[in-house]
Amino acid sequence: MYNNPILRICTKVLFAPIILFGLYVQFHGDYGPGGGFQAGVIIASAFILHSLVFGLEESKKLFPPKLNLFLLALGAIIYGGVGVASMILGEPFLSYNVLGSDSKSGQHIGILLVEFGVGLTVCNVMISLFNSFAGYNPDKES
C-alpha cells in the first residue's frame, strides 16, 4: 500500500483541499451548516488519510505527538478562557456581549473563538485516538 503511486499522488493532491474545506466549515459555521465539531473531524481526516497512505512514522514527523497533546488541551482552554475573560470583564461566565465594542460584535468574536476551541480539541482528539489505536502491534509486543 505504501508504494501504490495512485494512492500516494491522490493523497498529496487531496491533503491541502481537505484542510481548506475544514477551515471553510470552521469559520463559515455562522452563515451555513457546519461548526467546530464537523471542521475538527474533517481536518483530522486529512491527517489520518496521510498516515494511512504514508505510514504512522511519516505522519508523526508531519504532526508531532507532543504538539498534538498540547493543542488537544489548548482547545478546551480556549473555550474556558473565553468564559473566564467575560467573567473578568464583569459579566457571567460565557456571556460574549462584553468581548466586542457592542453586543453583536462581542457575540461574533465569542462564537468564533469558542468554535475554534471546539474544532481544535475535536481534531486533535481524533488524530491522537487514531495514532494510539494504529500504533498497537501485538506481534511486536509479545
Binding site: P33, A76, V125, F130, S132, Y136, P138
Partner: protein, 192 residues
C-alpha cells in the same frame, strides 16, 4: 408530498436492509462497513428532515471518522464474532414488544414540521428572533449551540477532551507495563 414520501420510503427500506444484513453478518470488518453505510443513510434521512447541520455531523462523524477509528481499533479484536446466542425466543419477544410499544406511542407525536407542536411554542420563537436581532448570525443552529447553549457545548468539549485523554492514558499504560502483565497480553495477541 408524494415525492417526499417516496424518498422517505426508499431511505427507510435501505436502512432496514442494512440493519437486517448487520444482524446476519459475523465478520467484524463487514459490521464496521455496514454501520458506516447505515450512518450515511441516516444522514440522508436528516437532510430530508431539513436538519442540515445534524446531517453534516452524522456524515462526517458517524460515517467518516468513527468508521476509521473502528477499523483502527480492530487490531485489538478477533476477526470473527463469537456465536454465543443460545436462546433466540426471549430477546426476539422483548424486541417485538418494545418496538410495538414505540410504534404505538408514535401515534401521539405531533406531525413533522407542524407549527402548533409544543416544541415550536416554548423557546424557539425567542431564539429565531434573537439570533437575528441580538447575535446577528444567520445560522440559528450555531447561535443556539455556541451562545444560548454555550454551557452545554463547553460540557461536550470537556467530555471529548476527557475521553481522548482517558484512551491515551489506558493505551500508553498498556505499552509501558507490557512486561508485568505479559500473560494477559498474549491472550489478546493470540486471537489476532
Amino acid at each position: 408530498m408524494t415525492s417526499e414520501l417516496i424518498i422517505n420510503a426508499f431511505l427507510v427500506t435501505l436502512m432496514m436492509g442494512i440493519a437486517i444484513s448487520l444482524l446476519k453478518t459475523r465478520t467484524v470488518i463487514f459490521t464496521v462497513i455496514l454501520t458506516s453505510a447505515y450512518s450515511l443513510v441516516a444522514a440522508l434521512m436528516f437532510i430530508s428532515l431539513d436538519a442540515v447541520d445534524v446531517a453534516f455531523t452524522e456524515a462526517s462523524v458517524g460515517a467518516g471518522i468513527s468508521t476509521i477509528l473502528f477499523l483502527a481499533a480492530m487490531s485489538y479484536l478477533p476477526k470473527e464474532e463469537e456465536k454465543n446466542v443460545t436462546n433466540n425466543i426471549l430477546p426476539a419477544l422483548s424486541c417485538i414488544i418494545l418496538g410495538s410499544l414505540l410504534i404505538w406511542c408514535s401515534y401521539d407525536l405531533p406531525e413533522i414540521g407542524i407549527v402548533s407542536a409544543p416544541i415550536h411554542q416554548h423557546l424557539v420563537s425567542d431564539y429565531l428572533a434573537g439570533s437575528q436581532n441580538d447575535i446577528g448570525i444567520p445560522n440559528v443552529v450555531t447561535s443556539i449551540l455556541a451562545s444560548y447553549r454555550g454551557y452545554d457545548t463547553f460540557g461536550e468539549t470537556v467530555v471529548i477532551f476527557t475521553a481522548g485523554i482517558a484512551v491515551l492514558v489506558l493505551l500508553q499504560n498498556n505499552k509501558k507495563s507490557k512486561k508485568s502483565n505479559n500473560k494477559s497480553k498474549k491472550k489478546i495477541g493470540k486471537n489476532v
